[in-house]
């Protein structure tokens, strides 16, 4: 039993918190921010604990392996979770005072799913964790949006449904693909594809179809191009604090899954999936940047920018090298903090400004310079301008990709970064140069303010001193891809 505790200590803790919150709300319902703060503090405790109890080992039959890779992801998801909770405390207390606990519980379930996902080495566990992560997200997309103030269009159903239908279609594809793969290889362990075919020339056509269907399924969760259509509409419909979490954590988990499956398991038969991955990465970069150009709603713009960023991350995975994977982790880590920060600031400005369009958040830097400054730093990080984390992230990714020979994609990426800068600067232009019709400073709640400050700390800190995270990423990546 002790071995189980050692392996799944953190996941147990997260689920325990979820249960605690639910029960507490059931028996002693109270409105206000207490529930949120309790969840955040407890999660903080778990994150702190993760630095002490670093047990590594494997579950029976190698179904779950806990190593540096998992620890890195656990800490990343916990951080994202804490910030996600902090960000939504104020909004929830205002919007649905009586039904806060369910929001946090579902969030924690999804978090638990992600943390387990990082260590899964067996298809069954992987799929189940993947679904555990996805299900709560469908619900949270529609949370509290069905009965908001009159000014806000009731897009609950729409946001939830768009995510749900594409999600369900993808999971259908994944399962069917998996059936073919598991059937042909005969084992549920995520390992190299043993070429069942007699002539041993390469995997049978059926296996190839299966593998690519599975890749398509995971592509959805990451928001890569053919499967990205849900992203902008859901970001616009769903509650913004949740969208901050949605835009970051599931993508990190999706990338982790891709790493486990493609680099960990199917690294030998890369000739099957690599071309597809490269096309998806390139297409994501192009579509993400070009669709973002004309956007006027900040959430949609950040949605498309997310798709473009994922294009860069997939490029790093396609390098198939340990350094490449390490830089993916670095990129994902910076992306997590940056995007959380951007959405939180946007949420604060929109709450006060009465809308998410660039016109409504105009003149933000005049009204509250610190908030405007924070937004500027986050935009810089997304655009890859020096001395914020994003600069290092983007350059390291391009470096490793170039080192692995993906020259054309790097050139495409570098060129599209310029297009990217244009729409990031349009946001900066509206906050700095346009003068909005309001002059009152934007009042962020204490929790939201704290979340923004934490994100700012990480983004600027990593920008000035990236070494620790680079080393941690290298150490973690060793778990999946051995060698250079």
């Amino acid at each position: 039993m002790s071995q189980w505790i050692q392996l799944f200590a953190l996941e147990f803790a997260v689920v325990a918190i979820a249960a605690l919150v639910l029960l507490w709300d059931a028996f002693a319902p109270r409105t206000g921010r207490a529930v949120g703060w309790i969840t955040a503090l407890l999660l903080g405790g778990v994150l702190a604990a993760s630095f002490f109890v670093d047990g590594s080992g494997a579950a029976p039959h190698g179904v779950f392996v806990r190593d540096a890779w998992v620890v890195f992801h656990e800490r990343l998801f916990l951080a994202a979770g804490i910030l996600g909770v902090l960000g939504s405390i104020d909004w929830l207390a205002m919007r649905t005072p009586k039904r806060q606990a369910e929001y946090y519980a579902l969030l924690l379930f999804s978090l638990a799913g992600m943390m387990l996902l990082a260590g899964a080495r067996d298809w069954i566990l992987l799929v189940v964790c993947f679904e555990l992560m996805s299900m709560p997200l469908y619900v949270l997309c529609a949370y509290g949006k069905q009965d908001g103030p009159a000014s806000e269009p009731k897009l609950a159903a729409e946001a939830g449904l768009k995510l749900f239908v594409t999600g369900a279609a993808s999971s259908g594809l994944t399962l069917f693909g998996l059936a073919l793969v598991v059937g042909m290889t005969g084992t549920s362990h995520i390992g190299p594809i043993v070429t069942g075919g007699p002539v041993g020339s390469g995997p049978a056509p059926l296996t190839i179809v299966g593998m690519l269907f599975v890749l398509a399924g995971f592509g959805f969760k990451v928001g890569a191009v053919p499967f990205h259509m849900w992203v902008p509409d859901t970001y616009q419909g769903a509650p913004t604090p949740f969208v901050a979490f949605l835009s970051v954590a599931p993508k990190a988990a999706g990338l982790a899954t891709l790493a486990i499956v493609l680099l960990g398991g199917w690294s030998a038969s890369s000739s099957v999936w690599l071309p597809a991955l490269l096309v998806i990465a390139g297409a994501s970069m192009v579509v993400g940047n070009f669709f973002a150009l004309p956007q006027t709603d900040a959430r949609r713009l950040l949605g498309y920018s997310g798709i473009a960023q994922i294009g860069y991350a997939l490029l790093a995975i396609a390098t198939q090298s340990r350094g490449g994977l390490a830089m993916t982790l670095f990129f994902v880590a910076t992306y997590v903090f940056t995007n959380l920060g951007v959405f939180f600031v946007l949420h604060a400005a929109a709450e006060e400004g009465g809308g998410h369009t660039l016109a409504r958040i105009a003149g933000l830097s005049k009204r509250s310079p610190w908030l405007g400054g924070a937004l500027l730093v986050f935009l810089l990080s997304l655009a890859g301008i020096p001395f914020v984390a994003g600069f290092w992230a983007k350059l390291f990714v391009f470096m490793e990709a170039w080192n692995a020979g993906l020259v054309t994609l790097v050139v495409l990426g570098v060129a599209l970064a310029v297009v990217g800068l244009y729409y990031y600067l349009t946001v900066a232009r509206s906050t700095y140069m346009a003068d909005g019709d309001r002059s009152t400073p934007v009042r962020t709640g204490f929790a939201l303010g704290a979340a923004i400050v934490v994100c700012l700390f990480f983004v600027v800190g990593l920008g000035l001193w990236p070494k620790p995270l680079v080393e941690a990423a290298n150490h973690a990546a060793a778990g999946i891809v051995s060698g250079r």
């Binding site: 259509m229 070009f290 973002a292």
Partner: protein, 599 residues
């Protein structure tokens, strides 16, 4: 650094010090009088230094010291310093003396200026003296070029001294542009010289065609600076400046810099006979053309300006004929009597408050000293035997008779007649005849203005006799020979004067004046230059401006526009309907699987 060089350096650096002091201490400059005193003191020191140099310098000796100015890779690419030899010593003296006289004259002439512009005037004078002296004592062509351009700058600033007058502003800019255009030749000459000899020394041995190239380019610069035929249009306009400035810069020293350059770079010009041929012809044409135009000018300063052009044509022709000393000797004498004429005109203008000859008349009774000194200058210019002009001009004509073809000789002979003729006209119109209204209450200028006139009258009279001494210093042979030319020349000079008395004595206009006047007004050369400037240069730049703003920049705007526009158009693909999203997922998976299998 022997004492000679230190004195020469003194002559250069003291005016610079005075100018810098006035610039750095605005209160000193704004006070007016003190600044003037400082600058005149500097000129005195410079003149004393040049006189000392003259006495100490023994003939034929060349002492040169150079300080490395630009050092690249250990080797001195360019150096500045002082070079004392016969030519530079004499030129230094001429420049300093004339400058001193003009500055003393300006004390009175400019007294009704505000103190701050008074100070500015003298600061610029000090700066001019520094530039001219740098040019004169330059050890190599690069420093000579530096002095050359600085002189051009001071001429720009001094012509435009009364910058509130739009005409003065235009004239100063026109002068600077014309000389700058011509200086392009000087730069290319320096480059060619550097490529050939990795140095800027004028004693370099060059192959004939490089020598021709270098000398031709140098001559282009001389044509600009010394107002030779095509590029002379800026000199008459330069009269917008105060008269002492015209006297100093646009008569005696600055315009003579071109001739001095040819004298200085004589070893190079000796290696390029073709260029000398061209110089001969350009000089002759300029002399004749300018003399004709001088005849019809109504403004006394314009007459003298064209006369300067014409005399410079003489010097250039002399140098073209191969005798450097002839040109140099005429340059020296011309500097003195032309400065005298200009200052005389200045004194008249100061008294009559107008430049127009029509407003003057019968001034001999009211302004005896000015009339006398102006007369001496005029006669010397006309070439009346015995005066300085006669000796130097005839020596030039003698050289021509020997070496050049007869056409230039006849042209120059005609010019000497015309010179006497128009100078006679000026004498009669200004001083002879009945008193005009304005001349009625004119009165003789003060002592400060008359002293320089008298001082300058002396060399105008006596300079001719110094020919021998000068020749010996600059190592050329000179002898007053009484051949055919001097006789013919002096007859023409006297004939010219008498003709002027006859024609203008009885108030009749010059013969065929109509033709000449139309020649002046329709002076095609000036209009071609302004046409070139306005239509060609500004036209091309307007086209360039348009192309840059609406084509090169337009292209970049277009690229930006199309990217954003494509973004906007592609945006419609995101229909919002869930079926299309599901379709995208399924079709995406299908395509990937298909491609994976078919590969």
């Amino acid at each position: 650094m022997s004492s000679l060089q230190s004195w020469a350096a003194l002559a250069v650096l003291v005016p610079l010090a005075a100018a810098l002091l006035c610039v750095v201490l605005p209160p000193l400059r704004r006070a007016g009088k003190p600044a003037a005193a400082l600058c005149i003191l500097a000129s005195l020191v410079a003149t004393a230094a040049s006189i000392y140099l003259l006495t100490q310098h023994e003939a034929g000796a060349v002492t040169r010291t150079e300080v490395p100015w630009i050092v690249l890779g250990g080797k001195a690419l360019a150096s500045i310093g002082v070079n004392v030899d016969g030519v530079s010593v004499v030129m230094l003296l001429v420049v300093c003396v004339v400058a001193l006289c003009v500055q003393v004259f300006s004390l009175a002439y400019m007294h009704d200026e505000t103190p701050s512009s008074y100070g500015r005037y003298f600061t610029l004078h000090a700066l001019f003296l520094f530039s001219m002296n740098t040019l004169v004592v330059a050890p190599n062509l690069l420093q000579l070029f530096a002095g050359w351009e600085l002189v051009g700058l001071t001429s720009y600033l001094l012509i435009g001294f009364w910058f509130h007058k739009p005409s003065a502003a235009r004239a100063s800019v026109k002068a600077f542009w014309m000389t700058k255009l011509a200086d392009m030749g000087f730069v290319f000459a320096l480059l060619a010289l550097f490529v050939a000899t990795r140095g800027f020394d004028w004693n370099a041995r060059l192959s004939t065609e490089t020598a021709t190239l270098v000398t031709a380019l140098l001559f282009l610069a001389v044509v600009g600076k010394s107002a030779q035929f095509p590029l002379h249009v800026w000199l008459p306009d330069a009269m917008e400046g105060p008269t002492p400035v015209s006297a100093l810069l646009h008569a005696a020293t600055m315009v003579a810099a071109g001739v001095f350059l040819i004298v200085r770079a004589d070893p190079l010009f000796a290696q390029a006979p073709a260029t000398c041929e061209v110089m001969l012809w350009v000089g002759s044409i300029t002399a004749l053309f300018a003399a004709c135009l001088a005849l019809v000018q109504s403004d006394i300063k314009k007459v003298l300006a064209y006369s300067t052009c014409s005399q410079l044509g003489y010097m250039v022709a002399a140098l073209g004929a191969g005798s450097a000393f002839a040109g140099f000797f005429h340059l020296g004498t011309h500097a003195f009597f032309k400065a005298l004429l200009f200052l005389g005109a200045g004194s008249v203008i100061h008294a009559v408050h107008s430049n127009e000859l029509a407003d003057m008349g019968g001034l001999r009774r009211k302004m005896p000293v000015t009339t006398l000194t102006f007369g001496i200058g005029a006669l010397s210019l006309a070439g009346v035997p015995g005066l300085a002009g006669f000796f130097s001009k005839d020596f030039v004509l003698a050289q021509l008779e020997g070496k050049a073809g007869w056409i230039p000789w006849t042209m120059l002979m005609a010019t000497s007649f015309l010179t006497a003729f128009y100078m006679g006209r000026v004498l009669i119109k200004a001083f002879g005849g009945a008193e005009s209204a304005k001349a009625h209450h004119a009165h003789e200028s003060g002592g400060a203005m008359l002293l320089p006139l008298v001082v300058l009258a002396v060399p105008a009279l006596a300079a001719g006799f110094l020919g021998g001494v000068l020749a010996e210093w600059s190592g050329a042979e000179y002898h007053v020979h009484l051949g055919l030319t001097p006789v013919v020349a002096s007859c023409l000079a006297i004939a010219g004067l008498l003709g002027a008395v006859m024609v203008f004595g009885r108030g009749r206009a010059a013969p065929f004046a109509g033709v000449l006047e139309s020649l002046d007004r329709a002076s095609a050369v000036d209009r071609t230059w302004s046409g070139l400037y306005r239509h060609v240069l500004l036209g091309v730049s307007a086209v360039a401006g348009f192309v840059d703003r609406y084509f090169v920049d337009g292209l970049i705007n277009a690229v930006g526009y199309t990217t954003i526009e494509s973004g906007a158009r592609v945006r419609r693909l995101q229909t919002g309907r869930i079926h299309d999203y599901a379709m995208a997922v399924v079709v995406g998976a299908l395509l990937i699987a298909l491609w994976g299998v078919l590969r």
